[in-house]
């Protein structure tokens, strides 16, 4: 006979507004096995938890049901509460009466009735719960960082400094990411390269950090503390160990048609190239699609000119495996596709550029050596128009529903830098809202307006078109004066929305980490666990989780690193005791369960079994608790029902079905 306590949470008015919590308590109070029931405003608060602890002691409860928010939110909290009161933590069940009841129903009667049924299902289940003891699994003391931008770099350095091995896997030929492409950073206007390249060097030189650039994660298996990852090192056709980064080959290469990704395609590069002078690793890469050798079988000029003998046309992709205890996703962002907004003529006119392209145009290491010129004719512009929110805050289907967060600030930065360097250039910014929360951010934006006379006009631009003079005309409305604005300009800069990198979906699915509708990785809790993925052992760093600027990215990277270090510092992890187990008297040894187990957790032994007074040797399935993840595939494959799952047993689930269908 169980002694069950039921605790109904109001969650302030979140639950109590739609569910009559008193009625729930009254209804379940007299149910069989229930010896105590009460409600409270916030069960998850310390006071609420104390209520539970006290009740456990006072009523000698053998199990508790908390009717509250989703178990994905607070199951852990209440398990700890139970543990503190001396109750096995697995004698706790949650009835989800918030997300799956009060928040989706309006009618109070209906909500209350459903809450009672959900509570009863949880009671039925908890009556069949058994105390479980978690096991242990070893932690591999090595972390994997996917993505070598500033987020990945910072996480790597912080983890490495704490004394753990870290591998960075970066898919482009160099680490550095978007930050290496930037000219200056807001709001301090310090040079981006000057702060990111030393960090890149630090990564390269750190004894605990290994950089796998031009590499991609191929496959992820395993679980927290013990991930088994396959990494593909793509063929560079250059021997990294020999290349000195002298760049002679890049100058001699006769093919000049490669799109220079680092300069956003504003100029071209050779088929053999080093993305930029400070690249890490500072080695050349051959882009086979443009290389004459790969196209025609001839050429080979790079090889002839390489004094280090590093060119290797025969190189092949290489796949290797490594074990990790934790994985940090730092895959960053990319500029969203602005070609869908061709009312701004991006695909038609070279002088319509994105902000990142402008960044390269203004960068001293960029295609124009830092001199601001029009891409069409290389001439000095006199008027520049910035258009904000291109593709952001857009629910029409063409863009992204979210605010990209960084555009207001970088546009103010661009406007200010241009006005400072070229006072003759008129700068106009068309905005919907100027959003500048952040330390010294609004002051920065105001400086652009007040000190640098940047012309901020409220109103989205309707259309940009080429005019008779070969320049561009911007058609808009000044919403403050309610007048038509027709501005002739030389350049138009689009503040394009940012979006998670291509490929992140694939990575998320390999990691079984969840992503939202915009492909941003989901955090385990939006407020309390913002740098963790709901998948144990996977952490989030930088824009892959949501738009953020450099300081925020660096903070999050550090936070993710701390979480990783916290994990790696443990020698063993407590494993989920909700694993499969077999009833020896019923097992037929038929191997069905073994075939469906994705973890290879089931093996067979010949064992002497006492059944109905007969002693006989049988082939019996055995579950390795450390490997079993508790999916339950085996339980259904088993025809005799010998295989069952702790915490989600056949009887428990059927009891829930019964309670719901009563």
């Amino acid at each position: 006979m169980q002694r069950i306590g039921v605790f109904v949470c109001w969650c302030g008015s979140n639950i109590a507004a739609t569910v009559d919590v008193d009625r729930v308590v009254e209804a379940v109070k007299t149910d069989p096995n229930v010896v105590h029931a009460e409600n409270y405003q916030y069960m998850c608060s310390e006071a609420g938890q104390k209520l539970i602890r006290d009740a456990i002691t006072e009523h000698q409860l053998t199990g508790i049901v908390v009717c509250s928010c989703s178990p994905r939110m607070h199951e852990q909290t209440f398990r700890k509460t139970a543990e503190a009161a001396g109750l096995n933590q697995y004698m706790v069940e949650i009835a989800n009466i918030r997300e799956q009841c009060s928040w989706i129903h309006k009618d109070k009667d209906e909500g209350t009735e459903k809450a009672i049924i959900l509570a009863r299902a949880a009671i039925a289940k908890v009556c069949l719960n058994a105390p479980l003891q978690p096991g242990q699994s070893k932690v591999v003391k090595r972390a994997l960082i996917i993505g070598g931008g500033i987020a990945g770099i910072q996480s790597a350095i912080d983890i490495a400094d704490a004394g753990y091995k870290v591998d960075i896997v970066e898919r482009t030929p160099t680490i550095g990411g978007k930050m290496a492409q930037l000219d200056k950073t807001f709001p301090t206007l310090d040079c981006a390269s000057c702060i990111v390249t030393p960090k890149m060097v630090e990564c390269a030189q750190h004894p605990n950090i290994t950089i796998y650039a031009y590499s991609e994660v191929e496959e992820v298996k395993g679980f927290v503390g013990n991930f088994n990852v396959k990494i593909r090192k793509k063929a560079r056709y250059v021997d990294e160990t020999k290349c000195t980064g002298c760049a002679v080959c890049t100058e001699k290469c006769p093919s000049r048609k490669g799109r220079n990704e680092f300069n956003c395609g504003l100029d071209t590069r050779g088929a053999v190239y080093i993305p930029f002078a400070q690249a890490i690793p500072n080695v050349a890469t051959i882009d086979a699609t443009n290389c004459l050798h790969f196209k025609t079988g001839k050429c080979g000029i790079c090889a002839k000119n390489c004094s280090a003998n590093a060119i290797d046309f025969e190189q092949k992709d290489e796949i290797f495996e490594e074990q990790y205890g934790a994985i940090v996703v730092a895959t960053g962002y990319q500029i969203s596709d602005v070609t869908k907004f061709d009312e701004y003529q991006y695909t038609k006119h070279p002088d319509v550029v994105t902000s990142l392209e402008l960044e390269r145009l203004m960068n001293a290491a960029g295609p124009s050596k830092g001199v601001l010129v029009k891409p069409s004719d290389g001439k000095h512009p006199h008027d520049i128009v910035f258009i904000q929110c291109v593709g952001s805050r857009d629910i029409s289907g063409r863009g992204k529903c979210y605010c990209s967060k960084i555009c207001c600030m970088y546009t103010a930065k661009h406007a200010m830098l241009i006005r400072e360097k070229y006072p003759d250039v008129n700068v106009h910014v068309f905005y919907i809202d100027v959003r500048t929360p952040g330390k010294n951010f609004d002051e920065f934006y105001r400086r652009a307006v007040e000190q640098y006379n940047v012309d901020y006009i409220k109103g989205m631009v309707g259309k940009v078109y080429e005019n008779e003079k070969g320049g561009l005309t911007v058609q808009a409305v000044d919403l403050i004066s309610n007048e038509r604005v027709m501005l002739d300009t030389d350049m138009v800069v689009l503040a394009a929305a940012i979006e998670p990198s291509d490929g992140v979906k694939h990575i998320a699915s390999m990691l079984t980490a969840s992503i939202d509708t915009n492909n941003f990785l989901t955090e385990a809790h939006p407020k309390l666990r913002p740098v963790e993925s709901p998948t144990a052992g996977v952490f989030l760093s930088g824009v892959c989780q949501g738009p953020k600027d450099i300081p925020e990215t660096v903070s999050q990277a550090g936070a993710a690193a701390v979480k990783v270090v916290g994990l790696l510092a443990k020698d063993y992890l407590v494993t989920n005791p909700c694993t499969a187990h077999t009833d020896e008297t019923m097992c037929n040894g038929c191997s069905s369960c073994e075939r469906v187990c994705p973890y290879g957790a089931i093996s067979y032994i010949d064992k002497e079994v006492m059944d109905k007074g007969v002693r006989e040797v049988r082939r019996i399935a055995q579950v390795n608790g450390a490997l079993c993840q508790g999916c339950g595939a085996c339980t259904v494959a088993c025809p005799s029902g010998a295989m069952d799952l702790k915490g989600f047993s056949n009887k428990q689930i059927m009891a829930e079905v019964d309670a719901i269908c009563k």
């Binding site: 063409r398 919907i432 109103g459 989205m460 309707g462 409305v477």
Partner: protein, 129 residues
């Protein structure tokens, strides 16, 4: 609820679109080819109707100036479709007043031998119920 608000809500409801999705970026007006011909502009139509005001819109000559070119519909980042709202206001005016904007006896003087039929049909459809 006062009459104006009730009428505004009615007009919004048969327009088939929701002006409250508007984030006030003004792109509808920015993109409108007839902006200069209008006394009240597309973004004002959206804004007025979103706040339950319609009197001024009923008097506006904008309802006869809108070309139904759907540029605002296409480019609105919020899917508001301002042209639907303008048309809905026009429908309610044309319906109420017995449509005096275009009268058939004024047609012949404007008739050009090459004018396609659709222009005449369309004009009547739009301005005279």
């Amino acid at each position: 609820m006062n009459n104006e608000k009730a009428l505004a809500e009615e007009v919004v409801s048969f327009s088939g679109t929701n002006p409250r999705n508007c984030m006030k970026c003004g792109k509808c007006s920015a993109t409108c080819p007839t902006f200069e011909e209008m006394d009240l502009h597309p973004h004002e139509f959206v804004s007025y109707l979103a706040s339950g005001r319609i009197e001024k819109l009923l008097q506006s000559k904008t309802i006869y100036k809108c070309l139904s070119c759907f540029a605002c519909v296409e480019r609105c980042p919020r899917g508001v479709e301002p042209s639907r709202l303008i048309e809905a206001v026009r429908d309610s005016v044309v319906g109420q007043k017995g449509a005096d904007y275009l009268s058939p006896d004024r047609i012949p003087e404007r008739l050009d031998p090459d004018l396609p039929q659709q222009a005449i049909t369309a004009a009547f459809r739009k301005y005279k119920k």
